[in-house]
Amino acid sequence: MSKVLLQVSDLTMRFGGLLAVDGVAFDVHQDEVFAIIGPNGAGKTTVFNCVGGFYKPTTGRVIMDGTPIHGLPSHKVARHGLVRTFQNVRLFKNLTVLENLMVAQHQHINTNLLSGLFKTPGYRESEAQALTNAAKWLDFMDIREYANREAGNLAYGHQRRLEIARCMITQPRLLMLDEPAAGLNPQEKRDLQALIDQLRKEFGVAVLLIEHDMSLVMGVSDRILVMEHGKPITTGAPEAVREDPRVIKAYLGEE
């Protein structure tokens, strides 16, 4: 078994009287695709928000590669290599596709004010490098022809791909995808599955996935966590989860 990358234990999130997430625990290994599934309102996205630092969990520990990251603000979590996409795509709509990818590299490039004002060689090099990276990812996602268009004008499927590219260009170790297949057509879903496989193999990134599309989840995941009403029901390989009576009960109700 490969090394554990992300370890979440005893995660609880309470909003007033509502216990949205209750005692969730899981770990994601390096180069693993780990999926979280469950009926609507099961608390999947809340888990994402807690792991990503958008919510401060009520209790629980989130450890990334040995470093505790629970309670850190989201931009610091992102700098530990956890980057996410959003359920409803959040691109910088009025910026161009290329600019979206340039912004995402902010933490890796020369942001010194003076070197930028005087265009020092170091600054030029860092900008050129950022452009090259962006071009590489545009090619990879097959959206280079739209590079100078405003991101909000892209087709929905392309926006999804751009959002993933924008995450990948930050060089994450764990990519968190929140319902990446929502709104995609069957062909695009198949492409997405191939893309997730490719990202894992070529870039060695672990993937944490929330998804409702069962064929995608079963096809791409190594392990699956099933949640219901904020509680974890079971964790296991796709085949085991599919046969689990508790999971069937959660989805279909009791006979």
Binding site: H75, N94, L98, H106, L117, L131, T170
Partner: protein, 409 residues
């Protein structure tokens, strides 16, 4: 047509309600008594004009515009033509004062101060999308920094200028902290309050700032240490003695103008570069979506603070120059109306567009000077222009052009 008439009728009645108290009821004084004398003719004429305009002329305009489509669309400037336009403007600006009279150069200097302020606010509002209604506060800080340094420590303009910028920048940074979590209208209210606090402090710290009287006798900038005055203080040479010229007040005005031009050009250069730099991209990204920014590891705190600080710094330079030019500062110069004017320059020019801001600064400063006879209607015309702009060209005179970086296919 029927709906047109109905709309026009309602508009005419509304107009009547609005004008009646102003024109319909004249206050007449006879001896000790004042009484109201109704004068309905003016009101009815006004209502008639509104009715005719709404019922007949407006549909006509709509038809004309509709036919020609986007006939009133101004050109969107592209990179190369924009550079050419900027160079041309600079060339004109450089030779301008030598052919003009004193009043014109004076107004032009004022325009340049507003260009500087507009470009500074453009960073905060246009680039970073943070609505700042208290920008004049930073302008005041800059002006008073120089004035106070002169008054209490005898500093000259050139020593005080960097400090005035730094001081305003510091205030921008400090204001940034409490407003970090606010956006939109809430932010606008807090910044509005900040501008007022500065003004009220200046009025009430009587012993330190001179209160409502302000500080006067502030010296004009020197030329390499030589004062530009008729007579130099003991042991100094004035500029005109050094050059062997006759003293001429016009020289001082041209000198001030050229200095304002230099400061405005520096502001233009910096804001033009900065928007193409990582920090500028981060500002724009933050304006679009703060949560997405955070998810990518961008620290919104630093990014917002940098926008506030940089905008305020330019206001500070503008303020110090303003103090030097006027020779006198008092809190009257830093009212909310001034903030509104600077904001109007940014909105009218097109948020984020530097050339647009320059154009709007010229329009909004020169127009009131040209139309001095209509001085009483200034605010009304001002309001009308804003309303018309929002209706027909909400993106401003010259909207910002995208993209700043391009990728070849």
């Amino acid at each position: 047509m029927a709906s047109n008439i109905k709309n026009a009728f309602i508009a005419a009645i509304m107009a009547g309600v609005i004008i009646a108290p102003v024109y319909g009821l004249q206050i007449v004084r006879s001896g000790m008594q004042t009484h109201l004398e109704p004068e309905w003719d003016l009101v009815f004429i006004g209502m008639g004009i509104v009715f005719v305009f709404q019922a007949f002329i407006r549909p006509l305009i709509g038809k004309l515009l509709g036919k020609r489509g986007s006939a009133i669309r101004l050109p969107v400037l592209h990179d190369r033509s924009r550079r050419a336009a900027i160079l041309l403007l600079i060339a004109i600006a450089l030779i301008f004062p030598f052919f003009m009279g004193r009043a014109e150069v004076d107004i032009a200097t004022l325009v340049l101060i507003y260009v500087m302020l507009g470009l500074g606010l453009n960073i905060v509002v246009g680039f970073a999308g943070l609505l700042d209604l208290g920008f004049v506060g930073f302008y005041a800080v800059g002006a008073y920094t120089y004035a106070l340094l002169y008054h209490w420590a005898g500093w000259g303009f050139w020593e005080a200028l960097p400090l005035a910028g730094a001081m305003s920048g510091l205030f921008g940074y400090l204001l940034g902290f409490p407003v970090l979590r606010l956006r939109g209208d809430y932010l606008a209210i807090v910044t509005l309050g900040f501008g007022e606090i500065i003004r009220l402090l200046l009025i009430n710290l009587y012993g330190f700032t001179g209160g409502p009287d302000g500080i006067s006798g502030i010296p004009k900038p020197t030329v390499f240490g030589m004062p530009m005055t008729r007579r130099a203080p003991e042991g100094q040479t004035t500029f005109h003695e050094f050059m062997g010229w006759q003293f001429d007040n016009m020289d001082v005005i041209i000198y001030l103008y050229l200095m304002a031009l230099a400061l405005a050009l520096i502001t233009l250069f910096v804001s033009n570069r900065v928007i193409r730099m990582p920090i500028g991209r981060a500002w724009e990204a933050l304006r679009e979506d703060e949560i997405a920014c955070r998810s990518l590891g961008l620290n919104p705190t630093n990014i917002k603070l940098s926008a506030f600080t940089m905008g305020a710094t330019f206001a500070g330079f503008g303020g110090a120059f303003f103090a030097a030019r006027q020779g006198l500062v008092n809190p009257e110069s830093f009212t909310f109306l001034e903030s509104a004017l600077i904001l109007a320059i940014v909105v009218l020019g097109g948020m984020g567009s530097q050339v647009g801001v320059i154009l709007a600064a010229i329009v909004l400063t020169v127009l009131p000077e040209v139309a001095r006879e209509f001085a009483e209607y200034r605010m009304m015309i001002f309001g009308l222009v804003m309303v018309l702009m929002m209706m027909w060209r909400p993106q401003g005179l010259l909207p910002m052009t995208r993209p700043h970086v391009e990728l070849n296919r």
